[in-house]
Symmetry: C2
Subunit: 458 residues, 2 copies
């Protein structure tokens, strides 16, 4: 039997505790599947006295994650501290620099410093694995990095934030307002006390930046993403979507266009019969469109201690497995060489970092696609004609126009002298839509701001 893989875990929140419990529970299976046992030999957290429901007695305690990262008696450093800055960043860098493979669930760190850390991992011939950083237990990182290695990817999009999907699901199913659903999500622990990061799309953007890099060989760069959250979505939009055969989902989308990779996060209309539209509640899902094959959709738990720990453990298993392959064949000949005993793929983003291409921020005014537009139109002669004219001036063709009065209380209270009008456009450019709506605004035929939701073809 080969030597056990010695793991150090920094950060003992719900994921860390779930990981320790799972390694203990699956000891035998892990050894069978990886060819060697996996042992958590050292841990690091802020409080040593807190009861986490797992047995830490056999593990060496560190109070400094950087010291743990450098400890000579660990093979793999697992970073579950979180955050783009220190100590997570310095600990991960220290571990890689010391020739240890790193497993992390830290999307923020990767979205900000992913390229630099990947380059360091390559230099030291060690792994930097991060399946848990995107989509929880959904094996989307592995699928992009290995499963679709021979496919040109055209588009990848997904529901990457359970909080937002929970809120949109409740709004749709129970015809509740956004604020009310957010409160419910907070009560159930699905949303933070300060929910901004989730509901304004930033969490989705961090995850999307990682997926885009894996899919398109671009440098991971959160700043390249256009971001819009869900706080402006009204029950009236969900009701209209339903009538028109759509659902509204907060999607992260990265797509190849003639002017480069377009990365964007915003509420999106998706066809009700698509796989992604079926995804309800806190569940996550990712769809990949690749050359010549029908879309591939992966659906599963996107968060939670056990789901995240299961992805972390899969990453640890990958290190154990590749290392053992090496060990079995070459251990005898290499054991005195002083080089790390690893034989792993060393490209965290699937390609050498030197070959990753730069991306620029999606110029959304050049985004092309269909649009859903909800206007509160003044109920006077000539209004419809004015709106139609402004759209026509921008060469926007309409697939449908629905003028609906909210009868069931799901829409906004009808205003005297105003009628909700819902327009679905054929493919056009965002620039055209913006110009047309600005002109309609100047014409004073609508009240309030128009609601605009992009339609994602699927």
């Amino acid at each position: 039997m080969s030597q056990p893989l010695r793991v150090g875990v920094a950060g003992l929140g719900t994921v860390g505790a779930a990981l320790i419990a799972q390694v203990a529970r699956q000891r035998e299976q892990l050894a069978a599947r990886c060819g060697r046992s996996i042992e958590i030999v050292a841990v690091c957290a802020r409080s040593r006295v807190k009861n986490r429901g797992v047995d830490l007695k056999a593990m060496k305690w560190f109070s400094d994650p950087v010291a743990l990262a450098r400890a000579p008696d660990i093979d793999v450093f697992v970073e579950l501290i979180g955050g783009a800055g220190d100590p997570a960043k310095s600990a991960v860098a220290a571990a890689l620099d010391a020739g240890k493979s790193v497993v992390t669930a830290n999307k923020a760190l990767l979205a900000k410093h992913g390229v630099k850390l990947a380059a360091l991992a390559e230099k030291r011939h060690v792994a930097l694995n991060f399946e848990a950083a995107v989509g929880g237990a959904i094996p989307i990182v592995k699928t992009l990095r290995e499963g679709l290695a021979g496919n040109a990817i055209d588009r990848i999009y997904g529901i990457l934030n359970g909080t937002c999907n929970y809120i949109l699901t409740r709004m749709e199913q129970d015809k509740m307002a956004f604020a009310e659903c957010l409160k419910e999500a907070q009560r159930l622990g699905y949303a933070e006390a300060d929910p901004t990061f989730d509901i304004e799309g930033h969490d989705t953007a961090q995850k999307l930046s990682i997926l885009a890099s894996l899919a398109f060989g671009s440098k991971v760069d959160q700043r390249a993403i256009y971001v819009e959250g869900i706080s402006s979505i009204a029950p009236a939009d969900l009701a209209a979507a339903d009538e028109l055969g759509y659902r509204v989902k907060l999607l992260g989308v990265a797509v190849k266009t003639p002017i480069g990779i377009e990365q964007r996060v915003h509420p999106t209309m998706v066809r009700k019969d698509s796989a992604i539209a079926q995804v309800m509640g806190v569940t996550n899902a990712v769809t990949v469109d690749a050359d010549g094959i029908n879309p591939l959709t992966l659906v599963g738990p996107g968060a939670g201690g056990t789901a995240t720990a299961s992805a972390v453990l899969s990453d640890i298993g990958d290190v154990a497995r590749t290392q053992v392959g090496y060990t079995r064949l070459a251990h005898d000949r290499l054991q005195n060489s002083g080089k790390p005993e690893f034989c792993v793929r060393t490209e965290p983003f699937g390609r050498p970092t030197a070959r990753l291409t730069s991306v620029r921020k999606a110029p959304m005014q050049r985004h092309a696609g269909g649009y859903y537009i909800r206007l509160q139109a003044r109920d006077k002669p000539g209004t419809a004609a004015t709106i139609a004219k402004r759209l026509a001036q921008q060469d926007i063709s309409l697939e449908s126009i629905v003028q609906r009065h909210a009868k069931d209380g799901s829409g906004p209270a009808p205003k005297i002298g105003s009628v909700p009008v819902i327009l679905i456009t054929y493919a056009t450019s965002e620039d055209a839509v913006r110009k047309a709506l600005a002109a309609v605004g100047r014409d004073r035929v609508i009240s309030g701001r128009p609601q605009v939701i992009r339609i994602e073809k699927n």
Copy 2:
């Protein structure tokens, strides 16, 4: 740059041709993703003159697949011949024995000889990869072997045969009879001239045997599977399912039970709002229930040249990538050793073959679950009471009873003096259901054979 990976391909049908085209098209990306170029250097097929739409000029031609498998100038042997017997079997064995990794899409071969071939791969420290054998482009083999390495799996089930799912989809959506839909599937090329292998569930069973082995560490063994096809499904069943909130799918199911791993293929009622119920047409899907995490569902193209080739190419990429990792670190020291230059995981079924457990055929009379039963009851006093009594004698509780007359032509023609009765039972044993229905038959209160469809909780 490392040496190119030299690939020999045996079998140039739609998959082989698609593979050659894809390797040519993705040359650069593959090199970036795998750290070395992938070159198809030799091919083998029956006809040398047939036009396959791809350029074979640069490739060495073999007429004997075994000779290609043993050729000293290939690193990987790709078997796309098909069939459980020779020449596929002897060619794969010859390649493994010669220390070459093998990639195959051959489910029949694996279902029958998988354990023996895996043992040979282990002995020679080479890979035996078969992502394409199950679920086409869906990365389910990789997900089970690597992605869920640290999870105890409770159940895995899937739509693994596009022909059957296409037929059931058409039957449901267009209220067509089975025979009519089968003809349509044949016309579209979704079903073979002799459709038995697909529609009677044997194709699904071969694939399930592979998934069960990967999920539960059992020996792959097609004979351990209980198999029932879809030819007895009537439009009346699909209409009744719809009314009751279900859809009928042909599922392959492998599940941990107190008496061992139960493997079965049969038409199944699944809840309409489940992810698997949304899968329509020739699309495939697999759902995995693992410890402590919500189900993971993978949906995608289950067949077709490009989809299958993309899975084959992913397997080839895995060999290229692991080999290059080895090469970079240790090539200098090992190049003169005479050992194969591979550094790969050598457990095709995720665990050493010596540790794979034996399975026995699922004793279906002990299967526990809910049941859908459709009877043609004689319309005379006491019939309902008789049926109810026989069920009660076997301790079967009913969740619902529906007595429906086919009004819309979707059911069988109403017989004079007989009424269709649909029963949904709570969880019971198959033995109880069989005994109760045998008693009802002896009571002469029904005409024809009862239709029985198992309900899969999901």
